[in-house]
């Protein structure tokens, strides 16, 4: 089934007079792992936040499964932002229960298993965990959902190589069958083997969209190399 999971039509987003996303058009099919690639400030996080519904477009539209972001799309989308969004006083088990409470597609046992592999005691308060552990816990919760679209904002940025490995393995092992995973990152080399497709973003516009295989064949280089070419200053 190749329905369109995420679509943008004439999407624009400005903060005041400053445009961040400019007349963006794209369509992402189901069942693909897609990289949202670009340097910092190119609009990756803004695009993901628009898809998640916590930003409102200035004009144009963004559609998840054909709907504008609302409570129904929130049930279809599993979003991992760059920040920790649980209160520090919460216990780890409470965070798991919170997800179980609100999300019908949440696999509690899987999350608890992954949590114990991380060495997180269920009764530990989140503020006692290191930043890296908190990020991994959030990833575990997000990936334990059987969502239609996973939005992962810089999941491997700013973590050590061992953590990066864990994160990539967790993503690959857990995403639901035939769902789409949109990963934004500026670390191309690590993410390239995982991707089916990619989008290059620059200054709020899409400058290239292709499958990784086609691009490698067409340009005769890795996506990492292609990225350096395209973004050469």
């Amino acid at each position: 089934m190749s329905e369109t999971v995420l679509e943008a039509r004439g999407l624009c987003k400005s903060y005041g007079a400053q445009p961040v996303i400019y007349d963006m058009n794209f369509s992402l099919p189901a069942g693909r792992i897609i990289g949202l690639l670009g340097p910092n400030g190119s609009g990756k996080t803004t695009l993901i936040k628009l898809a998640a519904g916590i930003l409102t477009p200035t004009s144009g539209e963004i559609l998840v499964n054909g709907r504008e972001p609302d409570e129904v799309t929130c049930g279809l989308v599993s979003y991992l932002p760059e920040r920790t969004y649980f209160s520090g006083w919460m216990k780890a088990s409470a965070a798991v229960d919170y997800f179980a409470d609100f999300y019908a597609d949440f696999d509690k046992n899987r999350a608890l298993t992954m949590m114990s592999h991380l060495g997180i005691h269920p009764d530990s308060r989140l503020r006692t965990l290191s930043k890296g552990t908190k990020e991994k816990l959030q990833l575990v919760l997000v990936m334990s959902r059987a969502a239609r679209l996973y939005l992962l904002d810089e999941p491997i940025g700013g973590v050590d190589p061992a953590a990066r490995e864990y994160i990539l393995r967790t993503i690959i092992s857990n995403y639901a069958e035939n769902s789409t995973v949109l990963i934004s990152t500026h670390l191309i080399a690590d993410i390239e083997p995982v991707l089916d497709d990619f989008l290059f973003l620059r200054d709020g516009k899409i400058v290239m969209q292709s499958s990784t295989d086609e691009a490698r064949e067409k340009y005769g280089m890795s996506i990492d190399g292609l990225f350096r070419e395209v973004y050469r200053c």
Binding site: G53, I54, T56, F102
Partner: protein
């Protein structure tokens, strides 16, 4: 889903407000004891320096406690609003606003839990004051035996003409509380979502603006209601005075509803989390 939101909101607020409430109640109990000591020392004592010391130190404690009990409802409101802001417009908002629930349910849950705890704080405050008066002003009996006869004496005069104004007064109190909760919600929402700079200032400004506008409307309408009584006799004056609280209550509710709708609309259509 609304039930789940309420459950989690209640849990967050409980964590913030319950310790404070228990402390206030405990302090009020101690205060009542102190009051009894002061009353008995003052009435039976001989004015020695030792007694003056006891009375003044206990008196200071009683005064502080009274101040605390009076400030307590305001502190509860601050805690409620802090929780509202933190859960919606800080990093936690990334979690709250991506839940598969209607935005209107999120607001409704916040509103209901806020009103619940506001009511609790009112009950606790009244209860502490009543308790202190009832048990604290007695000397050789457990409770002040003058109070019940006094209340019965007052109740003699209560008849139909008193119940209507009393009910109207209660209505205007409740409406005022709803109004205050909602305009603070609106102020925080406008400050966080709409204002680009100086968000806190914008929030405070909105709050006072709403308060001022409502007060002006209440005064104007109150004055209009008084006009007939200038023309005719005192019975018109009495009925307009009686009706005043009800009219105020309706005005409060009207503004509260408008603010609630506006807040709901902003949350639903204009959300932009930084």
């Amino acid at each position: 889903m609304l039930g789940k939101l309420i459950k989690h909101d209640m849990r967050s607020l409980l964590r913030l407000i319950l310790p404070l409430t228990l402390a206030i109640i405990a302090s009020a109990l101690l205060c009542t004891l102190a009051l009894r000591l002061v009353v008995s020392t003052a009435s039976t004592g001989d004015g020695s320096g030792y007694e003056i010391m006891i009375i003044s130190s206990l008196g200071a404690y009683i005064f502080l406690n009274a101040a605390a009990v009076l400030i307590y409802p305001t502190v509860v409101t601050i805690l409620i609003m802090y929780n509202f802001y933190k859960n919606l417009y800080t990093d936690e908002g990334y979690l709250t606003f991506t839940l598969p629930v209607k935005r209107s349910s999120i607001l409704l849950s916040k509103f209901l839990t806020a009103e619940f705890w506001t009511f609790i704080s009112f009950v606790v405050t009244s209860g502490c004051v009543a308790f202190a008066i009832f048990f604290g002003t007695a000397t050789d009996t457990l409770y002040n035996t003058d109070i019940m006869p006094f209340i019965e004496f007052i109740l003699q005069f209560v008849d139909v003409t008193f119940t209507a104004p009393l009910i109207f007064y209660i209505i205007s109190m409740v409406a005022g509380s709803l109004f205050q909760t909602v305009i603070i919600f609106l102020a925080i929402t406008i400050g966080s979502i709409v204002a680009k700079k100086l968000k806190l200032l914008a929030a405070i400004g909105i709050y006072y603006a709403m308060d001022l506008v409502t007060s002006i409307v209440i005064s104007v309408i109150g004055f209009i209601m008084m006009i007939p009584s200038f023309m005719s006799d005192s019975s018109a004056l009495l009925s307009s005075i009686t009706l005043q609280p009800l009219v105020n209550g309706i005005i409060y509710v009207g503004f509260a509803v408008a603010s609630y709708i506006l807040t709901n609309s902003l949350m639903k259509n204009k959300l932009n989390l930084p």
